[in-house]
C-alpha cells in the first residue's frame, strides 16, 4: 500500500486527487496550468503507461522538468510523437481520448465552465483567457476531469458565458447538441471532490478535503448542493506524489506563490530546472519508463 504523506498543502492534495483520476494505460488530453502538473505526477507515480496529449502537438512525453504550458519544450521530452495540433485535436474529436483535464473560472451544477469572462458578453467586466483548448476537450474527450479553485463566488447558478460544455442543461442535452465526448466526470476543488449523477447529470459532493466543513462548502455554492450519503474524506497525497511535486516544483510555482519568487530571478529558475534532472531520471528508471 502506498504510504501517505503526513505533511502536505491544500494545492498538493488537489493535484494528487486529480492525478488519481488518471488510470494507467489511458490517453488523456491535458490542458494548460495545474492539469499539466497533475498529469506529470500521475505519470511518475501510479500510471507510468498513461500517456498525455498536449494540444500543440505532443503525445506521451515524460517531463522531468516543470511543465509550463501546452506548447512548452518540456512536452517533447521522450515523447512518442511530436508534430501538429491537428493530430492531437483530430484524434480527440475522433474519440480516441480517454479523458481530458481542464479548469475554469466559473462552474454550474452541470459542469459547464466559463473561462471567457465575467459580465455580459461582449461587454465583459472581467475579460478572461478564452477557451483555448478547454472547449475542445470538454466537447470531445470521453470524460473530463475538472480542477477548480472554490472561492465562494464561482460555483454559480448561471454562468456568464458557457465556454466549455458540461452536461449543458441535463440528460440528453449533449447528444442533442451533437457533442461526441462524454462530458464532465469529476470536479476536484480546493474544498472537495464532486461527481456527476448518472441519471440527473447533476454534480454531487463525493469527498470532502481533510479539515474542510460541509457547511462551508454548501455556503460557497449558489445552488442547493447534493451530497452523497456515503460522503468520505479525500485521500491524502502519498509520500511519492509529494516527492514528485516538490522535485518538479520546489518553489511552488503551481502549488503556491512561486511565481512571485521567480519573477526576475533567473538563477533560481535555472537551479530549479537543473536540480530536477537526476531525481526525476532515477524515478523514471525505477518505474521502467
Amino acid at each position: 500500500m502506498a504510504e501517505y504523506a503526513k505533511d502536505y498543502s491544500l494545492p498538493e492534495l488537489m493535484a494528487a486527487s486529480v492525478a488519481r483520476e488518471i488510470n494507467d494505460g489511458e490517453l488523456c488530453f491535458i490542458g494548460v496550468g495545474m492539469p499539466l502538473m497533475a498529469a506529470t505526477i500521475a505519470k511518475f507515480t501510479h500510471a507510468p503507461n498513461f500517456n498525455m496529449m498536449v494540444e500543440y502537438g505532443a503525445v506521451g512525453p515524460s517531463p522531468r522538468r516543470l511543465p509550463m504550458c501546452v506548447d512548452c519544450a518540456v512536452n517533447n521530452e521522450r515523447a512518442y510523437y511530436t508534430g501538429s495540433q491537428r493530430e492531437v485535436m483530430g484524434a480527440q474529436q475522433n474519440g480516441y481520448v480517454d479523458a481530458g483535464c481542464i479548469s475554469g473560472a466559473q462552474i454550474d451544477k452541470y459542469g459547464n465552465l466559463n473561462s471567457t469572462g465575467i459580465g455580459e458578453y461582449p461587454n465583459l467586466r472581467v475579460r478572461l483567457a478564452g477557451s483555448g483548448g478547454a472547449n475542445d476537450i470538454a466537447s470531445s474527450a470521453s470524460r473530463t476531469i475538472i480542477m477548480m479553485r472554490q472561492d465562494g463566488r464561482n460555483f454559480v447558478n448561471k454562468l456568464d458565458y458557457i465556454t466549455s460544455p458540461g452536461h449543458l442543461d441535463g440528460p440528453g442535452a449533449r447528444e442533442k447538441a451533437g457533442l461526441v465526448g462524454g462530458g464532465p466526470h469529476v470536479v476536484v476543488t480546493t474544498m472537495g471532490v464532486y461527481r456527476f449523477d448518472n441519471e440527473t447529470r447533476e454534480m454531487y459532493l463525493e469527498k470532502i478535503h481533510p479539515g474542510v466543513k460541509l457547511e462551508d462548502i454548501k455556503r460557497s455554492i449558489q445552488w442547493d448542493l447534493a451530497v452523497s450519503p456515503n460522503l468520505i474524506e479525500t485521500e491524502p497525497p502519498t509520500v511519492e506524489q509529494v516527492m514528485v511535486m516538490r522535485t518538479l516544483d520546489p518553489l511552488k510555482v503551481y502549488l503556491g506563490n512561486g511565481r512571485e519568487v521567480l519573477a526576475g530571478d533567473f538563477e533560481a529558475f535555472m537551479k530549479m530546472f537543473e536540480d530536477s534532472y537526476w531525481p526525476m531520471t532515477e524515478l523514471m528508471k525505477s518505474k521502467g519508463m
Binding site: G25, G60, Y80, G90, N94, N198, A226
Partner: protein
C-alpha cells in the same frame, strides 16, 4: 438522485502494449468475412494481402476502401474475395492494363465487382473526414465531372459562406486498415521514411489497424526523432514484422519496385488461368511471407535493396 457516478467511458485509443504478431495471427484476429477493408498504396501491404488470400476459405466477402491501388488489390479481386471497391484508381501504372480488374467489372469473373468512383483526393478526403471524427469533408475536386453524376454519395451544396458550389464526400471508416511502413516499436508507434501517401489518414480512419514494417525498433529509437512518427501507438492494433513486405512494390529507402516481377505478373494476369497459376505459386504455394521471399529469392530482394541505397539513404544525400 441515486448518487451513482457516470460510468467511465473509454476512448478508442489502443493501449500502449505489446502488439507484435505474425501476419497470420493478425489477419486471423482482425479480418472477418464481410469486412470493409482499407488498404494503403504507399507502401503496399503485400505481405498482409497475401495472407488474406491464404485465408480465403474464411474471408470470402470483402468491400475495399482504397484511393489508388496498383496490382495489389487485384490479388484479392482475382482470388474471388471482393464484392465492391470504393476507389479512384485500380490499374497497373507502368505495368499497364489491369486485366484482373477488367474481367471482374466487365464480365463478372470471378465474381461481379461493384465500383464506386471518386477522385484520388475525394477518396483521401473520405479518410480525412473519418480521421477527425467528421462525417463528411468538403472538396473542390470532382465538380463538373461524371464522377459526381454517377456517384450519389457525393453531394454538391452551395457553400454557406460563399454561395459557390462545393462537393461533399462521406467519411469512410474501414473495419480494418492494412498498411506497410518503415519501422515501428513493439507498442505500435510507426515511423515512415519518404512519401507515405495517405497511410496516415487510413490509420486514423480505420477501426482496427494492422501495420507491417520493414524493421522493429526500440521505443528509444522512436523517441530519437518523434517528428517521424506518422502513426502513434493509439491507432495501432497489430504490428507485423515483414521485411521486403511491399514486394513487388517499393519501400522507400529500403528497396525499389521490382518492375521485372510486376510486368511478368501482369502478363500472367492477362487470363484467369494465368492469375490463378500465379496465385497458386506465389501465395498458396508459400505458407508465409518469408517463404514468398525465398521463392522470389533473397538474393534478388537484396539486389533491389542495394540498388535503392545507391541512390538514396534516409539521413544522407546521395
Amino acid at each position: 438522485m441515486k448518487f451513482e457516478p457516470i460510468p467511465i467511458r473509454k476512448g478508442k485509443a489502443k493501449p500502449p502494449a505489446y502488439k507484435i504478431m505474425t501476419a497470420k495471427e493478425a489477419i486471423t484476429q482482425f479480418i472477418h468475412d464481410g469486412c470493409y477493408l482499407g488498404m494503403s498504396v504507399s507502401a503496399a501491404p503485400a505481405a498482409l494481402i497475401w495472407e488474406i488470400v491464404r485465408q480465403r476459405d474464411r474471408i470470402k466477402n470483402l468491400s475495399l476502401s482504397i484511393t489508388s491501388q496498383i496490382g495489389m488489390s487485384s490479388a484479392l479481386i482475382g482470388s474471388d474475395l471482393v464484392n465492391k471497391v470504393e476507389m479512384a484508381y485500380n490499374w497497373g501504372g507502368i505495368e499497364g492494363e489491369d486485366k484482373v480488374f477488367r474481367r471482374a467489372v466487365e464480365k463478372g469473373i470471378p465474381r461481379p465487382l461493384e465500383v464506386e468512383d471518386y477522385s484520388n483526393y475525394g477518396c483521401a478526403m473520405r479518410w480525412e473526414a473519418a480521421s477527425m471524427g467528421l462525417d463528411f469533408m468538403p472538396v473542390k475536386s470532382q465538380l463538373g465531372s461524371d464522377i459526381i453524376k454517377y456517384n450519389p454519395r457525393i453531394k454538391v451544396i452551395d457553400d454557406p459562406y460563399t454561395g459557390k458550389p462545393v462537393a461533399l464526400v462521406p467519411a469512410s471508416s474501414p473495419d480494418v486498415g492494412i498498411m506497410h511502413c518503415a519501422r515501428a516499436d513493439e507498442i505500435g508507434n510507426v515511423q515512415c521514411y519518404g512519401l507515405y501517401g495517405n497511410t496516415d489518414l487510413l490509420a486514423r480512419a480505420s477501426k482496427k489497424v494492422i501495420v507491417s514494417v520493414e524493421e522493429i525498433v526500440t521505443t528509444a529509437e522512436i523517441r530519437r526523432m518523434p517528428n517521424l512518427t506518422v502513426i502513434p501507438y493509439y491507432y495501432v492494433d497489430a504490428v507485423v514484422h515483414a521485411p521486403f513486405g511491399a514486394h513487388w512494390r517499393e519501400s522507400n529507402y529500403y528497396y525499389h519496385h521490382d518492375l521485372a516481377y510486376g510486368l511478368d505478373a501482369y502478363r500472367q494476369f492477362a487470363t484467369k488461368e494465368g492469375f490463378d497459376a500465379w496465385a497458386d505459386k506465389y501465395i498458396h504455394g508459400t505458407k508465409d511471407w518469408d517463404e514468398y521471399c525465398k521463392l522470389v529469392g533473397y538474393d534478388r530482394l537484396n539486389r533491389l535493396r542495394l540498388s535503392e541505397s545507391k541512390y538514396q539513404k534516409f539521413g544522407e544525400v546521395r
